[in-house]
Amino acid sequence: MRVALYVTCLVDLMRPSVGFAALRLLEAADCEVVVPAGQTCCGQPAWSAGERAAAASLARKAVAELEGFEAVVVPSGSCAEHMRKVWPELLADDVYWAERARTVAERCHELSSFLVDFLKFAEPRADFSGSITYHDSCKGLRGLGIKKQPRELLARVPGLRLTEMNECEECCGFGGAFSVEFGEISTQIVDRKCESIAAAGADAVVGGDLGCLLNIEGRLRRRGDNRTRVLHLAEVLAGGSDK
């Protein structure tokens, strides 16, 4: 199966290892993976700011470059939700783009849901040993219903113990531009998340969205926690570091 990997702008800039981990996972699942060269950003930041025209222009650009693929895989519930739900809505009144946007949107998948729901992929090649706790990111969880997929995948990793934290479905306070525009409120929210993580006492906190992970890692370190590792699901599942 020919699959486009859409790494997201944040992974590209802040943590390339997540992109390579996703790549290895997809290849291990026998996908022919293509990384479309023109990809930049799905446009969610513009959409969140209320800039509909800018968001639509980026949606059109992305739809055009992703049309040729059977599936588009994104290591982010937030971006996947934007692609699946917002693109078709943004371009619904555009005769030329509406149908194309709908078609591409249906083929966009968040990584863990693609592996579990779509490919029925069973064998992560991980070599993780220790305990982890999983943070459910909001857009993936409440927007796309991603809850059991990452846990199913993690359960198959030998040596990995999942210790659920209290309130794992609570927002971490990232919210994209929110974390900068309302930094103090965001810090207040992520503090509660850090307390839940600390109480779970796991070796690592794992999630499916780099935005949330940067927020959580940044706050954990600032609070003086240099021990708890903060990892993307793909990094755990693909095993081995590839930074």
Binding site: P16, G50, L58, S186, Q188, E217, G218
Partner: protein
């Protein structure tokens, strides 16, 4: 209409985040709200009821009303009048105050007891009554506390949730003329009893009772009142005059519809199967009735609601004021309700405040959301709150209410993101720059381009190369 407070949301939020006593009160309340609702919703299964189907039914009832609101209001007016009540209409807060004061004067009222009404907060009714020489006495325990403190409610169903027990004790000692005592949560029943004793005098001596209504039932012309403390009963039965101030959207067609919504409201609010008291108030005291007002007046208020009909925000009018959205909101529980600046806090406030007081008066509220949709997933009538906040953000852009600099930056970034080659090149430079800023560390501790981020947290950075750079290098190899 009460004007939004002069401080910006940002400034108020900063104060609230640093108020440790407030933070302690909020952190104590949050798990109670969330846990009780979760239990209440789970208990539906014992009665063979499905919460999602109930939500759909609630949504349908509210949509049915809104589709023909004018018709339902006329039916209500006719039936309420037939029952002996007077029905008045108020366009805004000032008209509410004028009408209430006029009714009070006609009946020689010098003191009015009140049961919770958010509409009276929209109108700042207490201040207007006091100025007219009529003493308003709040009788809901939480409302009584905030009235003593000279504050506004900070939550629509738990008005004093922001107060610590010591703060309440200080207020009671002052108001009730006794020395301050050390108090713990074990003393709450005694403190409530103390307030009850004081309030009883007011119940017996007031000439007028003022309440809101949780619902107005069109087929019977009744007001439904949902309370837990019993004060609502006192306010509606003891004084000779009862004034009900409520929004025009509170109508439900039938008693059957009301029963359905009552399966949703208390559970979503406090997790209760049903509240301690549910009153259906129709008309005035009839011959042979042992109690009840001889005069009942409905004041049905628009105050900006009719403008929302047919607008992209019509869904907001489904709201049944349960408070579940704020009870599950990470932003609300970081700040409490006063930060929101007007009557309604939390997600429903972030939608209603700009819509009812003017978009330009609450520019920050629709943006002060992480978009987590915890509110939308608990709303008993399925109001898509994050979507409505998002539409307000778009409307700010359309009406030119966003700062020029912000618009230029987003425009420039969106343009850049459509030029993949240039974007790649700049991203590669940015990755190097971030790496350089971090030095030997894994993260940047002070980041001048986004100081708000590094005020509270580090910025973890990558290896100094972008994914696309590394991927291209790998393909060449």
């Amino acid at each position: 209409m009460t004007a939004a407070q002069p401080l910006t949301f940002h400034a108020r939020a900063g104060e609230k985040v640093r108020d440790l006593r407030l933070q302690a009160a909020l952190q104590k309340a949050r798990p109670l709200f969330v846990g009780k609702r979760a239990k209440g919703v789970a208990a539906l299964a014992e009665d063979g009821l499905d919460f999602e189907r109930l939500r759909s039914a609630g949504e349908e009832i509210r949509n049915r009303v809104l589709a023909d609101l004018d018709v339902w209001l006329e039916i209500f007016e006719e039936r309420a009048r037939a029952g002996g009540a007077e029905v008045l209409w108020a366009r805004d807060g000032k008209e509410i105050c004028d009408l209430v004061i006029d009714v009070a004067r006609r009946h020689g009222v010098s003191k009015a007891t009140k049961s919770k009404s958010m509409l009276s907060e929209e109108a700042d009714l207490n201040a207007a009554l006091a100025a007219a020489g009529i003493r308003p006495v709040e009788t809901d325990l939480g409302e009584y506390i905030v009235q003593l403190a000279g504050e506004a409610p900070s939550h629509i169903i738990a008005p004093a949730v922001h107060k610590s027990i010591d703060q309440v004790e200080a207020l009671f000692a002052r108001e009730h003329g006794r020395p301050v005592q050390p108090r713990s949560s074990a003393d709450i029943p005694a403190m409530a009893a103390e307030a009850r004793a004081v309030l009883r005098e007011h119940f017996l001596s007031a000439d007028m009772g003022i309440t809101g209504a949780n619902f107005l039932i069109a087929e019977s012309g009744s007001a439904a009142l949902v309370t837990n403390e019993g004060n609502g009963r006192m306010v509606t039965t003891l004084p000779k005059v009862h004034v009900i101030v409520t929004g025009i959207e509170k109508i439900v067609p039938t008693l059957e519809d009301f029963a359905t919504l009552m399966r949703l409201l208390p559970r979503s609010a406090t997790g209760q199967t049903i509240s301690n008291y549910v009153s259906l108030l129709t008309g005035t005291r009839r011959e042979g009735d042992g109690e009840g007002p001889t005069k009942t007046v409905f004041i049905l208020v628009d105050n900006g609601r009719a403008n929302l009909l047919g607008s992209p925000w019509q869904d907001m009018l489904r709201c049944i004021r349960c408070g579940a959205c704020m009870n599950h909101c990470p932003v609300y529980f970081s700040l409490g309700g006063h930060a929101y600046g007007w009557v309604y806090p939390g997600p429903m406030g972030s939608v209603l405040t700009p819509l009812l007081t003017g978009l330009e008066n609450a520019l920050e509220l629709p943006r002060a959301s992480t978009g987590c949709n915890q509110c939308g997933s608990v709303c008993p009538v399925r109001i898509p709150l994050p979507k409505l906040m998002h539409r307000l953000r778009e409307e700010q852009v359309v009406r030119g209410l966003r700062p020029r600099r912000e618009r230029l930056m987003i425009g420039a970034w969106a343009w850049l993101a459509r030029q993949p080659k240039l974007y790649r090149w700049l991203a590669a430079r940015a990755a190097r720059y971030l790496r350089w800023l971090a030095g030997d560390a894994a993260a940047i501790r002070v980041f001048g381009l986004a100081p708000a981020w590094t005020e509270g947290r580090d910025l973890p950075v990558g290896p100094g190369r972008t994914f696309h750079e590394l991927y291209a290098a790998r393909k060449r190899a």
